[in-house]
Symmetry: C2
Subunit: 354 residues, 2 copies
Amino acid sequence: MLSWLSVNRRGLITAFVAFALLFAPIFPFSTLAESPSATDPLPSWNDGTAKQAIVDFVKATTDQASPNFVPPEARIATFDQDGTLWVEHPVYTQVVYCLDRVPAVVKEKPELANVEPFKTVLSGDREAIAKLSTDDLFKILAVTLSGMTVEQFQTEAKDWITTAKDARWKRPYTELTYQPMQEVLSYLRANGFKTYIVTGGGQDFVRVYSQEVYGIPLEQVVGTAGDTKFSYDKEGKPILTKEPKLLLNDNDAGKAEGIHLMIGRRPIAAFGNSTGDRQMLEYTEAGSGARLAMLVLHDDAAREYAYGPAEGLPDTKVGTFTQSLYDEAKKDGWIVISMKDDWKTIFAPAKANP
Amino acid sequence: MLSWLSVNRRGLITAFVAFALLFAPIFPFSTLAESPSATDPLPSWNDGTAKQAIVDFVKATTDQASPNFVPPEARIATFDQDGTLWVEHPVYTQVVYCLDRVPAVVKEKPELANVEPFKTVLSGDREAIAKLSTDDLFKILAVTLSGMTVEQFQTEAKDWITTAKDARWKRPYTELTYQPMQEVLSYLRANGFKTYIVTGGGQDFVRVYSQEVYGIPLEQVVGTAGDTKFSYDKEGKPILTKEPKLLLNDNDAGKAEGIHLMIGRRPIAAFGNSTGDRQMLEYTEAGSGARLAMLVLHDDAAREYAYGPAEGLPDTKVGTFTQSLYDEAKKDGWIVISMKDDWKTIFAPAKANP
């Protein structure tokens, strides 16, 4: 893995969010506990508004005597991934994957070695990489996430995610999921909810590890998706090849549109952490009956990161918790989760045998 | 409902298949029995190759001692709808819906009354309607299946499907599902399979009634899909509007591509009845382990219709069981279901209170 991955490259992150054809890998990272504590379904949460809102919502929607009872088939809960279920800072995991893939792609296509932006990526020059234009980044995405069969992609992404590690924690990315959110996933499922990931990241990438890492089956992952092309290989066997053509940009308004396309129902609960989740939360809240809309605020520099509105980020960045999002949350009754105050622990426990 | 619907309009059907942004409605038509007979899970099937193939496949994939055992999460079965689960002859139900919608659309947009092809549709002239060009039909689809919110569409389609009736049987379309296939759906689900509809018809249309009619939840319907657009109405409420832009043409190769997009797994069983299902069956069969690929052959003019290769249809029609498809089925070991010989009964029982 290239060492410049620990650099905070906001420009790069921002650009990637817009296209983000993610896809990563799987495995022995089952951090789930489908049977939460009998006494407290959310043991990693401190008592407070956020925890109480979740418990109250579940009771209101699952108690048949409640005026807000919701039949099981309509109990749809959607979760953003990056920054909501696992660490997104300083750079999205899938972006790391795409940059890591460049050497392998250049090996297959040597003519790219002296062509930008591949030349810069191969140089390992952190500052130069951070300055790559959006167009350059799209070129990197196009070549690293397409041109192979869907099975080849799955194999490559799976191989990567099983070995790659976060630079700060020296742990696999798949171990950097938030234990309190894992508890919410389990708690909702134990109460008949169907939990979905709705990510700006690549649908195929997240599907590589969603079951093992979050207990969410492949078909319940909605993400940014590229087209595939059906054809026959030399032996006449039918194959699906990943194409460099965007089919669904699952960010911002695209999240609400993607939910309609892939699920066909309006969620009754939605969780996010950035402006890219705004429309998903608005769409969820606009339905009738009990609704739950929550935003994870990254305000814990010691245990994770702090990059919310308190840090004075301008209101134009993609993928950030801006002041205007904070204001909308307060106005509309969305619950803001403070990592610092609401979470007893941050990460799900490490596996004995990673 | 317009009376020319009983006319056999192959040209119209063919053209609609290609785009087919379906969407229909729901309700009190639950024809399902999730607990098939204890002694025979497929009581409406005559003993024979087809019935035996289904039973053998289920045993092979669900018996843990079997070399072809498949874990529950990978037990994906996909079903074409029109002609496989319910009657498609002489015209697709959703096409009837679109044509029926024309007067309402013209009422909203009076300027269309004297514009073709709407003028012809309004005239009720059967022969003229049958001669409409593909471009004309696309215009009809575009105006009847877009321009409204997703909820408005659901309401309109639901209203229609609850009252519209098939011209030959004088029964709601939703009662013209095949009892033997309903038994297959139930049998598979009772054995841990997840059953999906993968239709050239409109995803939003079929989702209106899939749960009630087939026991298949909305999110397990993959179909031809148009784009939607997120925006805010006059009161600032977020809405999703159906756009006249094709996102997924879920026919032919599009079925395999749609399965990857919406499910993310290769099915292990697939059921169809026409050339539009060819690639779905090929893609299913190309996986390793036990596979089941079946085609319903319409060879029963007395109880339903006969329009298979025996009737000498040319090999160029969309949506038909051609000789080349029949030959491929025989060559590749797909099972051809003869409605005449394999099915004791055709239709699911009528409801006491439709």
